[in-house]
Amino acid sequence: MRQIARFFLRSSLILSVMTGLLGLFSGSTGSLAQDRDKTLKVVVHANLQILDPVWTTAFITMRHGYLVYDTLYAVNSKFEPKPQMASGHEVLDNGLAYRISLRPGLKFHDGSPVRALDAVTSIKRWMARDPMGQRMNSVTASIEPLNELTFEIRLKEQWGLVIEALAKAANPAFIMPEKVALTPANTQITDPVGSGPYIFVKEEWRPGSKVVYRRNPDYIARNEPADYMAGGKRALMERIEWLYIPDHNTALAALTAGEVDYFEAPPLDFINTLERNKNLKTVDIDPLGTQGLIRPNSLYPPFNDIRARQALAHLVKQEDYMRVVVGNPALYKPFCGSFFHCGSDNGIQLGSEPFRQPNVDKAKQLLKEAGYNGEKIVVLQPTDRAQYNAATMVLIQSLRRAGVNVDVQAVDWSTLLSRRASRNQPEQGGYHLFITTQGGPDTAMPVSNVWFNTRCENANPGWACDMELDAMVAAWSRERDPLARRPILEKIHRRAWETLPYVIFGEYTQPIAVQANLHGIVAAGMPVYWNIERK
């Protein structure tokens, strides 16, 4: 027994020494101590791996772009385009020429001045990739610099969305130095030099863990207050650290412990917990919200038939989806029948009336008329994306209720992304249905809503095909008078609810969570990090 006692005595001595050392270390913050007041630590939603916001449409790269680059125009909270790097523009030759001037004194991070030639080269590169840029490219005759600070866009025909295109919020035309922008659009840039409010610190970049930005001392913010994506982008924090913490529970604990300041995309079922903590607050930064959509594959039966897509719409009860995906009724709309966001200027709901309540019998009848006879319907279920997974389960259940023979293909998100791009037959590696989401002001316009593109082979996966609808969208985009656009928009919306490029399953908000002492957070439709200060 004495030996046991001695054993435990030795062990406890060792443990005491270890605890003492720990205590010693826990009191020391060491040389690592940053000026926390001037450093914003953000838990980002994804791992930044690609630095080229033209080459990829990944949201995380776009957010990186907004820190490092600036845009010529940006939309305000009324979704009006406002000058950003531009000082203004003139419309000449009855709308066939746009002469745009840059603000003087703008500089890139390497100290070189921002010139009209940089803007021209950047716009050309962007037009080669972005869908709205491609539309603009198709009506553009030339883009040339006139002098150091002015350039001119000449059009082949009138197109009323030139400034709107340059101001678009998602995947915008970021302005890069000419030498960088000369990189072919299908080749990744490697030099992250921009003229935005923050400078990317390449030597501190740890992919999969941390991205660091420091304040750009040469950045000249506009004098207007920050308003959505427009206005003054005041870099009030000296340093921004993006931390990639894939485990949401860990991210929540880090926020609660004060190790991080800003949680970009907390799971929606965390919101109640976050709101109960007086040291934290949730902020709704997206007045438009997120639109959930079911995308049918228009290449194959039954969804190549309008009636089958209408049947699908008759099976959707948006509130069922929202209860499962979001939970908290304060964060979703019970019904939204607009393809262009219910809160936007274009948020009309014409045509949605027959689909406000589910009608299983009607759905069964329409499926029969479309020739559906119990064949397997392949539904892609992304099991590693909580919200998409939940929505897909509701979809599967509603299809089964209508007697549809559902073949659920459980996959991870990356497999889904590649599979949804496959044009194969559903039973040979293709699919019938998948779920995704979109948001922001781009969704609010027929011409920039990527899932609303109905140009058949040239549409996004699912290949919605309605050239008549596409012609209406083109007519809408040619029209420069907002009042004259309205009736065209109404026609577009009615038509869309008939041919259904996709089926809306709901609209909801994704708030961010931050420390309560953070102020000045801009409701820009996505997380942006200018204007934020700690008080």
Partner: protein, 313 residues
């Protein structure tokens, strides 16, 4: 000895070759496409096709395979599809956190498990033995992530003693390096403590029944000398084997702990690469881990002769 080492190293080459072929085929034959992920959530099928061509993913598998093998022979593990950085550089950046976590976990486990195992064997059948074995069963049974969350709630959120997440390099601050390692080490260490304690107990039980132990006691040696110098030393071969293979397993298998504590180690590099189908990174990491297994096994074999003089190479 040297001949044995050379022979062992040469015999690993076919193993690594088979690993290379299997990994390459598994990746290419499994669903998923890096081009689709790179293109982004709103990309069109044409965008994806363009990126596939650019990355050379549209080339025949054989051409891709021999291209990769050709690079490997020259010591070039290729470049990450996403980051455009050398795979070896990426692995090199992740070695420190994983190695630190693996070594601290093993040290924690050895310090705790070997005395516990010896004690349990020495007092076999008593309440001490039963308590230690109950702890071992529990530590084995509770999922690692649950232990991790529990420790975070207690030590980070309630007591505010230790950080929730992250890793700080030892070069930047020794104090912060240790503080960030404590919780992950305890989380992962408990499982290995349980494993080692059971192995130590089982081996010690066998040894303690040997004649020479009885002789040692009859000679009047103290119980601690009998236990440590006579029993434990002779029981060390299986224990060392478990420690060695445990360390190799840790280097390749700390994914959960690295994820829970947001440690940017090799485990997370692997899981991120797998989720994004970053083929060169996955291939590189698996080859490196396979090589680590081989080297650790070799070192274990060589160490036997230190503990058991009868073993000669």
């Amino acid at each position: 000895m040297l001949a044995y080492v050379i022979k062992r190293i040469l015999s690993t080459l076919p193993v690594l070759g088979v690993v290379a072929i299997v990994v390459f085929l598994l990746l290419r034959l499994s669903p998923g496409d890096p081009a689709a992920i790179i293109a982004g959530d709103n990309a069109s099928a044409n965008d994806i096709l363009q990126i596939r061509e650019q990355l050379g993913l549209d080339r025949p598998y054989l051409e891709q395979f021999f291209g990769w093998i050709g690079q490997l022979i020259t010591g070039d593990f290729g470049y990450s599809i996403y980051l455009k950085r050398p795979v070896l550089q990426l692995i090199g950046e992740r070695v420190e956190p994983t190695l630190a976590l693996s070594l601290s976990t093993m040290a924690f486990a050895i310090v705790l498990a070997v005395p516990l195992g010896v004690l349990a064997a020495w007092r076999a059948g008593t309440w001490i033995d039963q308590t230690i074995m109950a702890f071992a069963v529990m530590a084995f049974s509770v999922p690692v992530f649950l232990i991790g969350y529990g420790l975070v709630i207690q030590f980070s959120l309630t007591l505010n003693w230790l950080p929730v997440q992250g890793f700080v390099s030892i070069h930047k601050s020794v104090g912060d390096f240790i503080r960030h390692l404590v919780l992950p080490t305890m989380t992962l260490g408990l499982v290995y403590t349980a494993l080692l304690a059971r192995i130590t107990r089982a081996t010690m039980l066998e040894i303690l029944n040997e004649d020479y132990i009885r002789t040692a006691r009859a000679k009047g040696l103290t119980e601690s000398r009998v236990l440590v110098l006579h029993a434990l030393k002779n029981a060390s071969v299986p224990i060392i084997t478990t420690i060695g293979t445990g360390l190799a397993l840790l280097i390749g298998g700390v994914v959960v702990t690295e994820s829970v504590f947001a440690i940017p180690g090799i485990g997370r590099l692997t899981i991120e690469a797998v989720l994004q189908r970053d083929y060169p990174v996955i291939q590189g990491v698996i080859l490196v881990i396979a090589s680590v297994y081989v080297v650790v096994n070799l070192l274990i074999d060589l160490s036997y002769s230190l503990f058991d003089p009868r073993i000669r190479f």
